[in-house]
């Protein structure tokens, strides 16, 4: 109650802004119009009548999907950074936490890029601007995780997450994936605890979302690790332990070795049971990944039903990302004249 009273003192402006941004998210009617577009020019014309306004007006024709992608991301990042700039503690720390996920992705992107002998100059522009930090460009110096830690990551907020993966092995494909998962696990757990410490509605909303995120990762790691030579124990180490699956579900996931077994584990949790039941592996069916996305969108939308908490900032960014994915999906379908699956976007409102 006390938090509610004082919330607006520091965060009222940011919350208002965020809710304002949220109302710019495309509605079902907008999507309905977007999927009718014949060309990307039509898409641009229609987006002009939405909250996106003239964001594509200065692009020369012909428009490409890449340009749209860049502008979309630019706009989202601009909005998020504006929120970050007007925020106070502890909201600013909370917003920083959100960016850590992008930092992890960027690091992994650069390492895999250099493993494939790509020039760092080509890779850097592809990094997400929210996750960029000063030392990012110099990441190619490192050959082993230990070097990566001592040279690059030690100054970044990611340093504590990296402790578990310091080793002298060379960086290779599998290693990189393990690093990503380990970092993510540590990050999620830390973020979860941070939100829990904040308490109040923020904890209620964010813990729900993050718990789902953790479980989703556990499921995806399990499904993706079949036939990769990852042992069960190694796999178990990568499961984030802040989800609903912890501890029993994770134990069982550890022992599974095929998709049906994973489905059995999920069937004991009502919220995941529905998701697995609604998905299929046949073409035309929705994949489990899409179902997870849908569930995530639902959770994020629920965040907006409550007031005086930080969850909406996280939810806004995630919804906006989903929207960008939707627009890009539609744009790709239009550009490649592959209209059969154009309706496979995930509606938000």
């Amino acid at each position: 109650m006390k938090d509610d009273l004082l919330f607006n003192l520091d965060h009222g402006y940011a919350e208002g802004l965020c809710r304002g941004f949220k109302s710019g998210i495309l509605k079902a009617a907008d999507y309905h119009n977007l999927v009718q577009c014949e060309t990307l020019e039509d898409l641009r014309l229609h987006l002009q009548s939405t909250d996106y306004g003239n964001f594509l007006a200065n692009e020369a024709s012909p428009l490409t999907v890449n340009v749209i992608d860049d502008r979309l991301r630019e706009k989202t990042v601009q909005e998020f950074q504006h929120l970050r700039n007007v925020s106070y503690e502890p909201l600013s720390t909370f917003l920083d936490y959100i960016t850590y996920a992008y930092m992890i992705d960027n690091i992994i992107l650069l390492i895999t890029g250099t493993l494939h002998q790509r020039a760092i100059g080509d890779l850097l522009p592809r990094c997400h601007p929210l996750g960029s930090f000063e030392q990012l460009g110099a990441i190619t110096v490192a050959d082993t995780p230990a070097q990566l830690y001592t040279a690059v990551l030690v100054d970044t907020p990611l340093a504590p997450y990296f402790i578990d993966c310091i080793s002298e092995h060379d960086l290779d494909e599998l290693n990189v994936e393990i690093i990503r998962s380990t970092l993510y696990k540590a990050y999620l757990e830390d973020f979860y605890n941070f939100c829990k410490k904040l308490g109040g509605i923020t904890a209620e909303v964010m813990c729900e979302i993050l718990a789902f995120e953790a479980d989703r990762r556990a499921f995806m790691i399990t499904i993706n690790s079949f036939d990769t030579g990852l042992t069960q124990d190694e796999r178990a180490k990568l499961y984030p332990t802040c989800g609903h699956l912890h501890p029993d579900g994770l134990q069982e996931l550890r022992r599974t070795d095929n998709y049906d077994a994973v489905r059995d584990v999920a069937s004991r949790y009502p919220q995941y049971k529905i998701l697995f039941e609604g998905s299929g592996t046949n073409s035309g069916d929705k994949t489990i990944e899409d179902k997870f996305f849908e569930h995530e969108v639902k959770l994020n939308m629920n965040a907006f039903l409550r007031q005086f908490h930080f969850g909406i900032f996280y939810a806004y960014l995630k919804l906006k990302e989903q929207e960008n994915r939707n627009i890009i999906w539609i744009a790709e379908c239009i550009a490649q004249k592959h209209r059969a699956r154009i309706d496979n976007y995930i509606p938000i409102f």
Binding site: N33, Q36, C37, E38, E41, D42, L45, H46, Q48, S49, A57, N58, A60, S61, I120, G121, E134, Q135, L136, G137, A138, I139, T140, V141, Q147, T150, A151, V152, V154, D155
Partner: protein, 835 residues
Amino acid sequence: MTNIFRSEEMTLCQLYLQPDAAYSCISELGELGIVQFRDLNPNVNAFQRKFVNEVRQCEEMERKIRFLESEIKSDEIPIQDSKEYPDAPKPREIIDLEAVLEKLDNDIKLINTNADALFKNFYQLTELKHNLAMTEGFFNDTSHPIVFDSADELTSGLINPNVSTGGSEMKFGFVSGVIPRERLIAFERMLWRVSRGNVVLKYSDIDELIEDPNTLTKIHKSVFVVFFQGEQLKNRIQKICEGFRANIYPCPDDPNERRNLTMNVMTRLEDLNIVLHQTQEHRRNLLLETARSIKIWKIKLTKIKAIYHTMNMFNNDVAKKCFIAECWAPNSQLELIRLSLAKGSEISGSGVGTSILYQMESQEKPPTYHNLNKFTQGFQNLVDAYGVATYREINPMPFVLITFPFLFAVMFGDAGHGLIVTAFALWMVLKENSLKDKWRNQEVWTIFFGGRYIILLMGIFSIYTGLIYNDVFSKSINIFGSSWRVGFDEKTLLKSDSVMLEPNPQPYNGTTTYKQMYSGNPYPLGLDPIWQLAENKITFTNSAKMKFAIIIGITQMSFGVILSLWNHIYFRHYYAVFLEFFPQLIFLMCIFFYLIILIFYKWTHFQAVDATTAPALLIHLINMMLMSYPANDSKTPQSSLTFYSSQKTVQQGLLFVALLCIPWLLVGKPVYTIIKNKNKNKHPPSLPNGVASNDIEMNVPSHHPEVDMSEVWVEQGIHTIEYFLGCISHTASYLRLWALSLAHAQLSEVLWHMVLQIGLSMNGIVGGIGIFIVFTVWSSLTVFILLLMEGLSAFLHALRLHWVEFQSKFYKGEGYPFVPFSFKTIFDELPPADA
């Protein structure tokens, strides 16, 4: 003439346009700006309309113009502002325009790419030049032993110990380059970590801002040299440099080679400079030429785009041979529209008379269009802010035009303040043309400027009421000479702090002889200045202002009710005249207008002699309501005595009539509706029987749907309660006229006494300086508190009195505004060019 009081009569028209002539016809109509087009394809998406390609073409051209404009701005070339507004070009001219823009766009882009490459080269060379100049310094230092010592100290602990002894055997490699200054610290730390302390970094800041070759922006940069040992370390350092976007430049070991390189760089820089200069000159000439006509192109393009947007609303499905447009237009302008249509067809060369205007009958409510000028516009905005008038309803604007500034002035009454307001408004009005385009982004300014005529009238009226109240900066001015003389001798005056001026020809206590103090003729205009000195000034002005407020308020409300009569007659709601207008007016007259009569009666019939026995108006009104009439004996206080004989009978009669109005208003309309419904039900059987009549019968109710009676009752009940209670509360509400006027007068008096008086009472040089400071404080407080704050508050209260108390009597405000397709409004709404 009636157009001042009502909105224009509108007709729904259909235009049949030849496809060839449509464009030029719409262009002509856009110049005219009196036609509002209706969207005939509301269900069609923006990108599925007929002229979407033309619109897109326009947008592409606009993009090019925006690009050219930004280029012109970056070179700081002034864009020539043309006062003329060219007509929309013909369709075939659009292609020419497109070609011109295309060529310019390409030219500029080509020049830019060339220039960018040259600049990149130039900046790289500049960095190299700085790099060489700075490293020269470092290497000169290396002859100094300290540097090597420090390097040795750093390395001695880690590498084999003989390094410190045999420093000359060591072969140090080095890398030099230029890095953005803010990344230097992180860079240094990273180097140290990666090499485990086995490098020495020397750096020095470049003093001026230099351009980065990659981003072509000006930033602070530093030159650095990294000394290291070994090939492997070199690789790593190079990678780090790359990651930190540091530009590495070669730097020869040998001093002679360095000198040669420096010379080389210098000559190349000079060559580049010449080439760059020429490129820039060429670009500038091109842009100068563009700047001359870019404004005209922009106007043309906006017009073309607007025309195509309008044409997208036309129907083309029914008859492929022509476009059908639907539009609202004022009746009085139809001839003009026909003329411009003919002109449009002529221009397009498809012959006169091919475009046809056809007036349609429509059930739909037409939009509200008032013919306004710049003077009335502001007042109409005040009214429209409450609600746009229902079609052809009485428009309160012409009355608000006078009553609004007047009510404002009643509250703001101070001639001095009024004078300042008037002067400010006069400045805005007289300088109208030059001020029009200034500060268009300043929201507060645009509000003031938009209401300049309102402010002017408010100022003038404030001067008038200020003179009536005899208030100039809270002081009175004695123009005509007061009607009062102090007739006491010195003895009396010295004895007492205050004396009483007697209007009566009676001896004042203490004196035996009577001296006439009142001249017998009142002060000619407003309040006698003698009141300024009186102790009971406030009591007196309060009583007067309160009565003014009541008189003004009731008069305005009655006027509002009378205006409703005009509406009833105009819309032929004759029943409403008897069932609504009469009970409302009679109620108002019986109670409140009677009060006004009593006020005037009291003013005129009670002299100074019987002032003490004058009955109180408030008590009388209350007694009238309660029907209590005290017995006329000595015990009754004199304030509740009757004004005149047979007062009781008259008042009881009035009250009875007033109370009669309540059920009259309450049941009148519902009963009328019931009777009307009955008549309608009775009517059909009188028609001859037959199939045809059945059809008619079927059709009749659909035009006049059966009204739900309970709804009518509830609505009328609410309306009745609202009106009668409203009369009372609204009358009380008008007392704000007195309250605000009192507050304003008191505030300005306090300001005078507490601030300016201090300054005026100081003497000597100190006093001179003091009055200067005090006057500053006083004048700024006057402007900010009394003019701005009080003015705003009086403005809002005046607005409320008009919206709630006045307009509720007759104004429905359920219309929607007429938005004609007009190039002029499109350009007015465009963001200012110098944004």
